[in-house]
């Protein structure tokens, strides 16, 4: 258990490039951030923004061929970039664990869910069969599965989507990781089940003293459950800051566009939504300038030619990558009137 002011994860200048038939594809380009112990950080972005590749790179889940990873991922003292399979195995489970988006495909359909939890306990912690079963049932209870002894014997196909995601969480928590990577953990779930799973993650984070990276495309998911937010666009961080700052005093035009284009339940019927013209760039043909420039209404010549680096805003910890940022003083509101 680490004290709260300790840096659990330090990511520096991380870049993941895939070799494709069309040339090198920079899925993640030069990402740096830090994560404290017991902190929840949100990573938001549209599809193709590199948020999933970022978490998979932190976890060290890249295949060995056709991928080039540079930079550094220091996880509680362990360097994940360039680590051997053996070194990574020593870290998986006990230091870092991951929850994937689709709870059906991340479980083995022909193995009882109890056995899938046991597996982690027996292989990683060397527990005996009997001890592992007791612990697995405890874990099922911890993630809020009713009648855990009975469910221990179930196959994934016999459980609902919400229950399966709870099982996936139980497996991730089996070896008490310090960092939990949750990649779109509630995307396929209904809203009432989504609320249950997010509450469960919040509760477990406090009880088990974990750090969480919550990756999502849904700004609503991160709004009330994270202390800081990273906004990604075309593989890069375009804004990072405390959740409140990012929502109410964002400087990057993309962040504003993202917030304004989401429909709100407070809008009147037939409210015209603010749209971002065009679509996300082709990562194979990125320009030297800001990737958002072609869609940005504030873009100048400089934006098309030179890439803006992250610069600090007034609030400590708040940074944005933009040549023509939105003014800092105005208190922005995401509500359209």
């Amino acid at each position: 258990m680490s004290p709260d002011n300790e840096k659990l994860l330090v990511v520096e200048n991380l870049a993941t490039t895939f070799s494709t038939a069309g040339g090198p594809l920079p899925a993640v380009g030069g990402v740096s951030f830090e994560l404290m112990a017991n902190e929840t950080i949100g990573v938001v972005g549209e599809s193709g923004s590199g948020k999933t590749v970022l978490t998979r790179t932190i976890m060290g889940l890249q295949q060995r061929t056709n991928v080039n990873v540079t930079g550094s991922v220091l996880l509680d003292g362990h360097q994940m970039v360039g680590a051997s399979e053996q070194e990574k195995r020593a870290v998986w489970g006990t230091e870092v664990a991951m929850i994937f988006q689709d709870p059906m495909t991340s479980l083995n359909p022909v193995m009882r869910v109890g056995k899938q939890i046991d597996e982690a306990l027996r292989v990683r912690l060397g527990m005996s069969r009997a001890d592992a079963k007791v612990r697995a049932i405890e874990l099922l209870e911890l993630v809020g599965i009713p009648s855990p002894e009975h469910r221990y014997q179930s196959y994934p196909g016999q459980l609902s989507g919400g229950m399966r995601q709870r099982v996936v969480i139980a497996i991730a928590l089996a070896c008490s990781p310090k960092l939990l990577l949750a990649d779109e953990p509630t995307t396929g779930l209904d809203v009432t089940i989504q609320a249950q799973i997010l509450n469960l993650l919040d509760d477990l984070k406090e009880r088990l003293h974990m750090s969480v990276i919550l990756v999502t495309h849904d700004l609503g998911v991160v709004a009330t459950r994270t202390s800081r937010i990273i906004v990604m666009y075309a593989g890069r961080i375009v804004e990072i800051g405390s959740t409140r700052e990012v929502f109410s005093a964002h400087r990057m035009p993309y962040t504003r566009a993202l917030l304004e284009s989401s429909p709100k339940v407070t809008n009147d019927p037939h409210t015209r939504l603010v749209t971002i013209p065009g679509r996300p760039p082709n990562l194979l043909k990125l320009s030297d300038g800001c990737s958002f420039a072609p869609r940005c209404s504030f873009a100048t010549d400089q934006c098309h030619k030179e890439r803006p680096e992250l610069q600090d805003a007034d609030e400590p910890g708040h940074a944005f990558a933009c040549w023509n940022p939105l003014p800092a003083t105005r208190k922005r509101t995401v509500k359209t009137t």
Binding site: E46, S47, M163, A223, T266, R272, T275, I276, V334
Partner: protein, 332 residues
């Protein structure tokens, strides 16, 4: 534009899949009207029967009982050619934009297919109409007309689906989760496009979706479904600000707003929806409802009007205004 005359009248619609022990009543007696020119939103969680309702209206799945009237014509009584005739007046747009387009056909032929089937326009007139439809949805027919569906992004494919559905100038458009597979910035483009086309073509929409914010943004009225039944129906603003059915209240409470100041972790609904194979007696929501009493188990509540145009199926409808939905803040 809207007149009080319903374009679509659905009464006691039931859809049953399977027989005997394995029968599942996916839609268990649904009645509603869609007025000409309005958008009716249909929301609910997965498995509540909202998509099946949409498909049953098109008779893609056969309703087991009930009546569907489009503009006074009973769809259930139509067969063969007559049914095909009526169907041109209603069209459906599906969730997955890419798989709903034939991968082996050029998109200009996909959009032209309804015209070719019906031979309403032919030759140059047909080509002009196809180009016009593609322009209307924001796709340049000269550049993209000869391409295939796989060469387009999800948002563009959805635009092509819309163009195809408008080819026969339908009166009613059934949109089944049409934006759920899209990114938020693309979703906003498609929703705005839909509003524009609705005005231009004088469309009436049945908008089926699980996303409460999206539904609120497009719908004049909203119907909430739970386990095959409508539990509440009413004007969007009223229903969202003062839900009368406990399920609607919980559903809205679970919807996440992109606002760090929104109340954290409101009351969360416990448990999961029961299996439609074996629905609870009485009120279908009673197993998860915190206000349920013996009466809810014994008697099934019928949809009853609590305010003009606002009906709810609950023995104990909520009357207190919930503070969850606040008025938009004004910019300081």
């Amino acid at each position: 534009m809207s007149s009080p005359e319903p374009l679509l009248r659905v009464r006691d619609l039931k859809v049953t899949f399977g027989v005997g022990h394995h029968a599942i009543q996916a839609v268990a007696g649904v009645s509603f009207d869609v007025l000409e020119g309005e958008t009716l939103g249909l929301v609910g969680e997965s498995g509540c029967g909202k998509s099946t309702t949409g498909k049953a209206l098109m008779r893609i799945v056969e309703p087991s009982s009930g009546t569907i009237e489009l503009d006074g014509v009973d769809l259930g009584a139509q067969k063969g050619k007559a049914l095909r005739n009526v169907r041109t007046r209603m069209q459906m747009i599906f969730q997955d934009p890419i798989s709903s387009l034939n991968p082996r056909r050029r998109i200009k032929d996909i959009v032209a297919e309804p015209l070719d089937c019906w031979k309403t326009v032919t030759g140059l007139e047909r080509d002009a109409m196809v180009s016009d439809l593609l322009v209307k949805v924001g796709i340049d027919p000269k550049v993209y007309g000869n391409r295939y569906a796989r060469q387009f992004s999800g948002g563009q494919c959805q635009r092509i689906s819309i163009a195809r559905s408008l080819a026969m100038r339908p009166k009613l458009l059934i949109c089944d989760e049409m934006v759920s597979a899209l990114d938020v910035s693309v979703q906003a483009q498609i929703l705005n496009l839909l509003e524009d086309l609705k005005k231009e073509y004088g469309l009436t929409l049945l908008f089926i979706a699980h996303d409460l914010a999206v539904v609120k943004n497009v719908s004049d009225r909203v119907a909430v479904m739970y386990l095959g039944k409508i539990c509440e129906i009413g004007p969007s603003n009223t229903l969202y600000e003062a839900p009368a059915h406990p399920y609607t209240k919980f559903l809205l409470g679970a919807a996440l707003e992109a606002d760090p100041d929104s109340p954290v972790h409101g009351d969360v609904l416990k448990g999961e929806p029961p299996s439609p194979m074996n629905p609870p007696s009485g009120c279908r929501f009673r197993t998860r409802c915190p206000y349920a009493t013996q009466k809810c188990a014994d008697e099934e509540p019928e949809l009853a009007e609590v305010a003009p145009g606002h009906s709810v199926a609950c023995h104990y409808p909520l009357t207190i205004k919930t503070p969850r939905i606040r008025k938009p803040r004004t910019a300081a």
